[in-house]
């Protein structure tokens, strides 16, 4: 096999170990990356993709010879510009990091120093490494700000991190990484924490900046549709092993391995929309709400309906009031005006005054299954408590019913005495579903239940929810920012923007033109699993704005 001589980054048989601390056992070493090899040439972009625990970030950081706490590079070699950086001296590493290789992390908000203006931080590495004088670095930074499409590129550097939005800060961080003219930039999930409508701008900015500056990049993400837009090659990872490595075109259009095929075809659930019935189960009428001590209405005159056994999806960006709507319906936040009619009668505004049957029939599932379950209770207690509380089941009878519920969520035997920490992310969410089901509810509010999960696991949860809807005839109020999820499971959709419902109707109505501006923006921002999607969207948006 001939190796290209001009390889910028050459990784051979990279092995990485970590210390684990299992409960009740002695800490010991395990291997988390098992011999990964790849090459990266100047100007190319390699996408690393995989679910959590696949070792993506670990490999990304290893290309700057860095291991997070407890992580050690145990074998193999990493060559940057021909020299083995695993064997080099600390002072040489200092020149490498932030000079030749730079890093863009997932959360810009957590990575910037809030006490210093942005410009100082963007130029720091370049000045410290002696690549530019302060003046040169600042000029270069302004140029980068402009290239990344930041507003007021001349003055934005004077602002502090909290004075710009999340998407802008993420672009500032890209400028920070590009400022010292590095040879390689590692992007670690740079758009994952952003809203879809913001993500597309940042993605385009990053892509153009990479193309214009000619750096090489490693782009880490769990979203195949995103990585397909920016990278030339893709490496699929699973549990520290390389599954497939090829050009983006080959991975997306002709995946060889079963695992890659599953990743590509994720979110392919289809669900036939049901027609509204005569009597809605839940009616939210003219609801307006604000949080205590504020003067700002988070919900403004919201009207939606949900029919028995159907799914209403509430979509919108963060801050649009989706979760507040759930808090109002559950009674955690009494509304300022309007009323909520549930199953033929009006619900009292405050949770504390609701009869037990109302509480039972309206259950909730949370985004973070980790914190939705008491870590000191076993699965049996968690699912068993609603049975005991609402139906007075005890002892063997309760245990039998818990096992039935576990079977229903496709988990089976052997989980009843486990603690939440002994479950995987998907299993945790399943237990939360079982806890909601245990109350025999008529309505379950699902607040971003799949957002924290890996795509394949999320797919499994959605299938389970659809299945359970058929068996138990339960209605879902499904809060999400992910339109692909909405397409998969909704019967009707409410699009929320700044506390108002801007579009509401059955799925087919909402998802077919003519669109209002916001829904159009939202729909067109969802990454599609095809090459060139990003360019198409940006081009059509530019045409529209030119037409106006």
């Amino acid at each position: 096999m001939s190796e290209p001589r001009d390889s910028l980054l050459k990784v051979r048989d990279l092995r990485i170990g970590a210390t684990v601390y299992p409960p009740g056992e002695k800490p010991h070493e395990i291997e988390i990356v098992h011999g990964v090899s790849f090459d990266l040439e100047p100007g190319r972009v390699l996408g690393l993709i995989g679910e959590s625990g696949a070792g993506k970030s670990t490999i990304g950081l290893a290309s700057m010879a860095y291991g997070r706490g407890g992580v050690k590079i145990t074998g193999g070699e990493v060559r940057v510009n021909g020299r083995d950086i695993l064997k080099t001296s600390l002072s040489d590493l200092r020149r490498l990091r932030g000079g030749e290789v730079t890093y863009v992390s997932q959360s810009a908000a957590a990575s910037f120093n809030p006490a210093k203006p942005i410009m100082e931080q963007v130029t720091e590495a370049a000045v410290r490494h002696g690549k530019f004088t302060r003046k040169q670095a600042e000029d270069r930074a302004v140029g980068l700000f402009r290239k990344l499409g930041l507003p007021n590129p001349e003055t934005i550097g004077k602002r502090y991190p909290h004075q710009v939005s999340g998407g802008q800060l993420q672009r500032c961080m890209t400028a920070l990484a590009l400022c010292p003219e590095p040879d390689l930039v590692v992007f670690d999930e740079p758009t994952t924490a952003l809203d879809v409508t913001t993500q597309i701008d940042v993605l385009m900015a990053i892509k153009e900046a990479i193309r214009d500056t000619g750096v090489a990049a490693i782009y880490i993400t769990h979203d195949l549709a995103v990585v397909a837009q920016v990278s030339d090659d893709i490496m699929v990872l699973k549990l520290g092993d390389m599954v497939e490595y090829g050009t983006t075109d080959q991975i997306i259009n002709n995946p060889q391995e079963e695992y890659t095929q599953a990743l590509v075809s994720v979110r392919s659930i289809r669900h036939e929309e049901k027609q509204p019935t005569d009597t809605p189960l839940l009616q939210v009428e003219n609801v307006t709400a604000r949080y205590k001590g504020t003067k700002f209405d988070v919900l403004k005159d919201v009207n939606v309906e949900l029919h028995p056994g159907q799914t209403l999806a509430v979509v919108g960006e963060s801050g649009s009031g989706k979760s507040t709507l759930a808090r109002v319906i559950t009674g955690l936040l009494p509304p300022g005006a309007g009323r909520i009619v549930f199953d033929g009668h009006e619900l009292t505004p405050d949770l504390a005054t609701r009869p037990r049957d109302d509480l039972r029939e309206l259950q909730m599932i949370y985004q973070m299954a980790d914190v939705a379950m008491n870590p000191r209770q076993t699965v049996g207690t968690i699912i068993g408590r609603p049975l005991e509380f609402y139906f007075g089941l005890r002892g063997a009878e309760k245990r039998r019913r818990v096992q039935e519920l576990l079977d229903e969520i496709e988990m089976g035997e052997g989980f009843i005495d486990r603690y939440p920490a002994e479950l995987s992310g998907g299993q945790k969410q399943r237990v939360c579903i079982a806890r909601a089901l245990a109350a025999k509810p008529k309505l379950i509010i699902c607040d971003e239940v799949t957002s924290a999960l890996d795509p394949l696991v999320a797919d499994g949860i959605l299938k389970l929810l659809l299945n359970l809807q058929k068996i138990e005839d339960v209605a879902y109020l499904f809060i999400t920012h992910d339109l692909a999820t909405v397409r998969a499971i909704a019967d009707s959709i409410a699009v929320m923007y700044q506390g108002q419902v801007v579009r509401y109707g059955t799925k087919s109505e909402v998802l077919s033109p003519p669109f209002d501006d916001y829904t159009d923006l939202l729909l067109s921002s969802v990454p599609e699993m095809r090459l060139g999607w990003l360019e198409d969207v940006i081009a059509s948006r530019r045409m529209e704005s030119a037409g106006n």
């Binding site: 409960p23 008491n374 870590p375 609603p386 509380f389």
Partner: protein, 272 residues
């Protein structure tokens, strides 16, 4: 569960157990009667009196054993009292919030702004100094510290989704406090307990040393220091024995508390 105890914890456990056993079994293991005068003043260690005699000729080892019994009993009882009141009130304040929390927290701030030793001296100077009064005064004064910690920990836990889920289910305050919050607040509280116990030992010893604690002829470690402190001038070390006892007890209890803290945080799903 107890198979791999670290060496430090084992040492701590050994001495703590030794002191507590000595306290419980005092009447059976003490060589002489508690207030019995059996020899001369400040006799040096001998076969009859293993660590000598005290300022009026009582057997010092006997005094130490009985003194430990009093000190450890008072400190334990006061710790239990301060933990029950402090944590229950702290949890309640966190769960109820609003003005209940405000009133209780400001009242505790008020109590804490007065140095507890001075406060205890004032209270004890107007009340009869008996063991139950001592326990109540020390326990309640110390419960302000426990309240602070318990409330801070509970406020954190109270915003967790699982507590919200319990509220949505319609659970009452008792369930939320004892089944959702308490198990998750236990490890910081247990660690604090070891520390507070030692403060109690020091507190009661200080009070006795100042003459407002355990009253003679009953023995306690602070009192023994007080009775024998004049001997130090003449090179007689009788007052040092209780000091050594207090120090070793403090260290060993903390070694145990550290170990318990480590163990509970590394439990399945433990909070770090």
């Amino acid at each position: 569960m107890t198979k791999n105890i670290p060496i430090a914890a084992a040492i701590g456990l050994f001495f703590t157990a030794l002191y507590f056993l000595m306290a419980i079994l005092a009447p059976w293991i003490a060589p002489y009667g508690m207030a019995e005068v059996v020899g001369g003043v400040w006799e040096p260690p001998s076969a009859e009196h293993l660590i000598g005699t005290d300022n009026i000729g009582r057997d010092l080892l006997t005094r130490m054993i009985y003194g430990g019994r009093t000190t450890i009993f008072i400190a334990t009882a006061a710790t239990v009292l301060s933990f029950t009141t402090g944590s229950v009130l702290g949890f309640l304040a966190a769960v109820m919030g609003g003005w209940v929390d405000q009133v209780m927290s400001r009242f505790v701030d008020l109590l804490m702004s007065i140095p507890s030793l001075i406060f205890a001296l004032v209270v004890l100077s107007v009340m009869p100094v008996t063991v139950p009064v001592l326990i109540v005064v020390m326990g309640l004064l110390d419960s302000t510290r426990v309240y602070r910690l318990a409330r801070a920990v509970a406020v954190d836990i109270n915003v967790m989704d699982y507590v919200e889920a319990a509220k949505l289910r319609g659970e009452g305050r008792i369930w939320i406090i004892f089944r959702e919050i308490l198990p998750n607040a236990l490890s910081p509280l247990v660690a604090e307990m070891g520390l507070r116990f030692i403060f109690m030992v020091l507190f009661v010893s200080t009070l006795s040393f100042l003459g407002l604690g355990v009253q003679p002829p009953a023995a306690d470690w602070g009192g023994i220091v007080k009775e024998n402190k004049d001997g130090i001038v003449y090179g007689i070390g009788a007052a040092l024995w209780p000091a050594v006892a207090i120090a070793t007890l403090a260290i060993s209890v903390n070694l145990v508390a550290d170990w318990v803290l480590n163990r509970t945080t590394s439990l399945k799903g433990g909070r770090g």
